[in-house]
Subunit: 337 residues, 2 copies
DNA sequence: TTGTAGGCGTTATCAT
DNA sequence: ATGATAACGCCTACAA
């Protein structure tokens, strides 16, 4: 079923069919109707490849992250998909996995295929070769990164100021008299590094305990978080607050702390704070206070940028956007608790 | 940068370039090398649209669900993406949202675009018009459904036998002496209906309490689940076990039950069991036993089917596949507790 | 307002 | 083993 069939059926030329297909104004209502009828009758749908060939676009955006299975990325992808679809873009999803091996292939596949632009969430590309490749690519394809640390001169970057967020959090804890704040984190992505910075700066600024064991890098799992806290307790290292880079870790940490307090018969007083403000924070008992990195805002901005970019609209020179983090208070820590 | 440029650079015809591009055997090693060099030098990458135009495929699979933001679908999409990519397919994601309005557009967009096949997770399409459209579509495009209730004569269906799973669960509870098992559920998708069936059949078979208030349809949220249990408790309706159609609901239900037991100073004895075996079940306190619907197996089967279908390989006549659910035991209920 | 014809970048069928 | 050339289905000057 091609444009020719429609032309024949409607007794017009293919040019006319193409015109009604693209809503050209220069076609009489009568013939327009005639063609429309033919299309309906023959159940015609234009061939996307042929269209893409001349238009050089298929209205597809590549979305890259390490793993949609992770709640955080899932939420991001969900927001992006909805927003982009409302602008009539499809998204093709690319999950690189979280290993450290080169992943250039993922990106080149995407590019060599058809995407009009790429939105990268987090820092799924670790190898330096990958980043170099990305820089190169950004010269020809719009690339928007969300919370990543690639410095792409030609790209656009949207980040949440998690460093400031964690710093403030540490300040709050300090004001409440905490001295020994443990920090559990998993990967040192851009986001991860920022948070760690916020923590160390906060500790230094408020002259809190710098016991090195208070900072622990662990796997992104409940078990690792539990084990880490367990070890700290066994070693009798004083802790009076726990911050983690991810809600999941906070769940594990809090669980272990609570168990310990139960056996030692002490009242629960140690605040536990996670990051990402995911549903996990709500499912924990007690519910977890969490640093919200405003994923919704980040994603909306990304889409907005993407659309204006692809529309060829001129935009301000700004290439870097930053939004503030926000503390979502729940049972595990509140200002007046 | 086209095939013509390469041909010129390498002093061959475009046909030859195309041949090395597609790894045709009938090209001398010497010219092959020459062409390869030219491609490298000019940084050539074939135009996907042109290729798609003649090949009539771009190796893309459409994956449809109501919302990737939901942990369950996120996990499914994650598995599908990884599997399909390993077979060199891209996936374009389509989230329909969970409303009841017609969503034919989502599907037709996908089809009218370029997907080689579609994998539908759950029952994102509710309107009968949509389903009719889907049936029509399945005549021309391979459609594989995972846990959905569309009966597509030309499609393929993969489901988990959750009815049997819940039935067994009820049996276990009955054997343990439970009489009044509450059931909380949200949407009546295919999966939702199956579980409800398993519950009612189990109740009937073991002659347990048929108090209608024990069955409640609620929103998919912690709050709704809490509120539902709260109401039951207030109304003094006896409950000695709770099953929910989703882990999230189980978290809310268990939370309320525990709070109630604490205030009434009763020991915790009411088992709470969720479904989907998600990370939420692990984050709850106590950790939740959950009916695992084997999403991994379902997705793997879907991909396997998809690949053989697209390879044109003949496959057995079987169009419907079914896997057994499995109970993942955790603290909230175990056989010998 | 409508039609003709050339071009988009491949693949594939012929010859040679 | 290689080259010329006709599709593939659409868009878009340019002509009428």
């Amino acid at each position: 079923m091609t444009i020719y069939d429609i032309a024949k059926e409607a007794n017009v030329s293919i040019a006319t069919v193409s015109r009604v297909l693209n809503g050209s104004a220069t076609v009489s209502p009568k013939t327009r109707e005639k063609v429309a009828q033919a299309m309906k009758k023959l159940n015609y749908t234009p061939n996307p490849f042929a269209r893409g060939l001349t238009l050089n676009t298929m209205r597809v955006i590549g979305v890259v992250c390490s793993d949609v299975g992770d709640a955080f990325y899932a939420k991001a992808v969900s927001i992006l998909e909805t927003e982009l679809r409302s602008h009539n873009f499809d998204i093709v999803l690319c999950c690189t996995g979280s290993g450290t091996q080169p992943k250039q292939k993922y990106i080149s596949d995407l590019k060599n295929k058809y995407v009009d632009a790429m939105i990268i969430i987090g820092s799924p590309l670790a190898a330096t070769a990958d980043i170099h490749y990305l820089k190169e690519l950004s010269k020809t394809t719009p690339i928007i990164t969300i919370n990543s640390n690639y410095h792409l001169p030609e790209g656009f970057s949207i980040v949440c100021d998690e460093e400031a967020g964690i710093f403030q959090l540490v300040s709050l804890l300090a004001a409440r008299g905490c001295q020994a704040i443990a920090y559990l984190y998993d990967a040192l992505t851009h986001s991860g590094r920022q948070k760690l910075n916020g923590y160390t700066k906060g500790i230094a600024h408020h002259q809190l305990s710098q016991e090195p064991k208070l900072i622990q890098q662990i796997d992104r799992s409940l078990e690792s978080a539990s084990a880490a806290i367990e070890t700290l307790l066994e070693q009798q290292i004083p802790i009076d607050a726990i911050i983690t880079s991810e809600d999941l870790l906070a769940v594990g940490a809090q669980r272990t702390i609570l168990a310990h307090e139960k056996t030692t018969n002490t009242e629960h007083t140690i605040p536990v704070i996670g990051c990402n403000n995911s549903v996990l924070a709500e499912c924990a008992t007690p519910t977890l206070t969490s640093l919200d990195n405003r994923l919704d805002l980040l994603c909306q901005k990304a889409v907005e940028l993407c659309i204006t970019l692809l529309n060829g609209d001129t935009l301000d020179e700004q290439r870097d956007y930053r939004v503030e983090a926000r503390l979502e208070y729940r049972e595990s820590f509140s200002i007046r608790s």
